[in-house]
Symmetry: C2
Subunit: 311 residues, 2 copies
């Protein structure tokens, strides 16, 4: 296939992430197949609606599937599921991944790409770190609020040639991208935000703006960021000295925002604790570094999550 042929995407999960980016890729001229779960019939009948400051869209008809088996081969399989459903991931991916298929992983957390590469050695694994405010508000209905940039980082050199082609496909749909030279550094930098703000938004029962507005809550978020920085450094990817101050300043400028973990908690859905907290704790521990504040909030989240869902 020439590098100018439109790419074919399969998107696993038609939620806030998959629904939004799938819509933008469609608008950019790519072929896009969606896998949906509860609302597959709705989307087939009524279409996929995406409200966005970039323009509201109703896609109808949409190529949507309830399962992976019947989907024709794609160039790129995007993972837009919650990590809480990762037990089913290998089984869902298996029919979709052939020799040289790109797996573009949108999930949050650490060690995901290594696990994908170990399970699918024939695939080209690339991380796509999403900086996106988007919610699913009903069947086949996504509301995009703000942001949307995707940072791309290849797991190994096999992905490098794919990066400009992915950038082109996203760019054609109006999505900004950048390329990160180190996947591990990009993941840890994203965790430096996700770990404090996802966790504290649940534990303190408030959105990011209210965390930033309270000096004690902001200081707690900052202390947790510094622990993540120690974990990152132990794993070989130290932060720049101005990274944390910049991250705090950016958060301060953000519109009031409910992190996904808070929405999951309020919706009584399982929290993404394993990949966002347990794996970073484990990776740092392997290097002999503990993150005791992170450990403390991770345990609290896990305990409250189970109580919240009555399990």
């Amino acid at each position: 296939m020439s590098s100018s042929t439109p790419l074919r995407f399969t998107i696993l999960g038609t939620g806030a992430l998959g629904g939004f980016y799938g819509s933008r890729l469609l608008l950019g001229g790519a072929t896009v197949r969606f896998i949906a779960h509860s609302d597959v019939d709705w989307i087939r009948a009524q279409g996929l609606r995406v409200d966005s400051p970039l323009g509201d869209r109703l896609h109808h008809p949409v190529e949507v599937y309830a399962d992976s088996d019947p989907i024709p081969p794609s160039d790129v399989v995007c993972i837009g599921l919650k990590t809480t459903r990762n037990a089913r991931l290998p089984e869902l991916l298996a029919p979709l991944v052939g020799e040289g298929t790109v797996i573009l992983n949108w999930q949050n957390g650490l060690t995901l790409e290594d696990e994908l590469a170990a399970r699918f050695p024939q695939a080209v694994v690339i991380a796509g770190l999403c900086f996106l405010c988007s919610n699913k508000v009903g069947p086949g209905h996504i509301v995009h609020l703000d942001y949307g940039r995707v940072s791309l980082a290849a797991l190994d050199e096999r992905g490098v040639d794919w990066l400009p082609r992915l950038q082109a496909a996203f760019g054609a749909g109006g999505i900004e991208t950048d390329v990160q030279p180190s996947l591990s550094a990009a993941r840890w930098r994203k965790l430096a935000w996700n770990i404090p703000f996802n966790g504290l938004s649940v534990l303190l029962d408030r959105n990011t703006d209210a965390i930033m507005a309270d000096p004690e809550a902001r200081a707690l978020a900052e202390r947790l960021m510094h622990e993540v920085a120690e974990g990152a450094a132990a794993c070989g990817v130290p932060f720049d000295p101005d990274f944390i101050p910049k991250l705090l300043a950016t958060t301060e400028r953000m519109a009031p925002y409910a992190p996904s973990m808070r929405l999951d908690f309020l919706g009584k859905r399982a929290l993404e604790i394993e990949y966002m907290y347990r794996r970073p704790l484990r990776e740092a521990a392997v290097q002999g570094v503990r993150m005791p504040g992170v450990e403390t909030i991770a345990s609290q989240l896990s305990i409250l999550d189970r109580a919240n869902r009555g399990v």
Copy 2:
């Protein structure tokens, strides 16, 4: 005064603590004057009611005062206020403390006795660590649920001679006592329980039995205990190796119990964060030791406390 003359007590605060122990001291034959706040008129008119497995009691009339000024001199002034009211403590104590007056401090936390000794050098300062389940359920009405032992520890040698006399006065009222050779060690050992269980009972919204029944919550409590152990060791009072396992085992055998901080939170009262968390953190930090998990839950408690009270 001979050592067989009944002791005269003034009790600052007629709550769950002061009301209960005052009642027992009265029954043991001591002279007891109470200082009450909101329910002073009720107690004067209706008496002080204490329901207890040791026997229900209505004391009427009771020597009760709204302020310190008019109270005749006592041998022992007991502090049964919440530490959240400590800003008023020097002013309340001043008229009560003469040369050689014993200040028996029932409050939880660290550095309290040093502050009292600094403010009242003429006083004999003794810590009375209370192992008590007791609630105030209404005006002049205390319900004692379980336990009640008081561990006595003199701040300096001036208090040593007083310890048997205090033990006798409490014992006459049916209260078990013991004498602890090191005030600092006794305080840190009590913190090893109070820090995890008070904080987690608020943050996890559950009583001690539910914390102990959940392996992850129990493990979190245990990790916090080990941090307190590091703080204690840094302050010169290392725990015995079997102290933490024994403390957990004791907690497991306890009846379901709502720690005072949980009751305060549910009642939208200020939490005792300063002396129970901030001071231990500060004392350990002075010795170069951080307790990052304790720090994390202390900040959360402080943030939630303010939100809870709308301040």
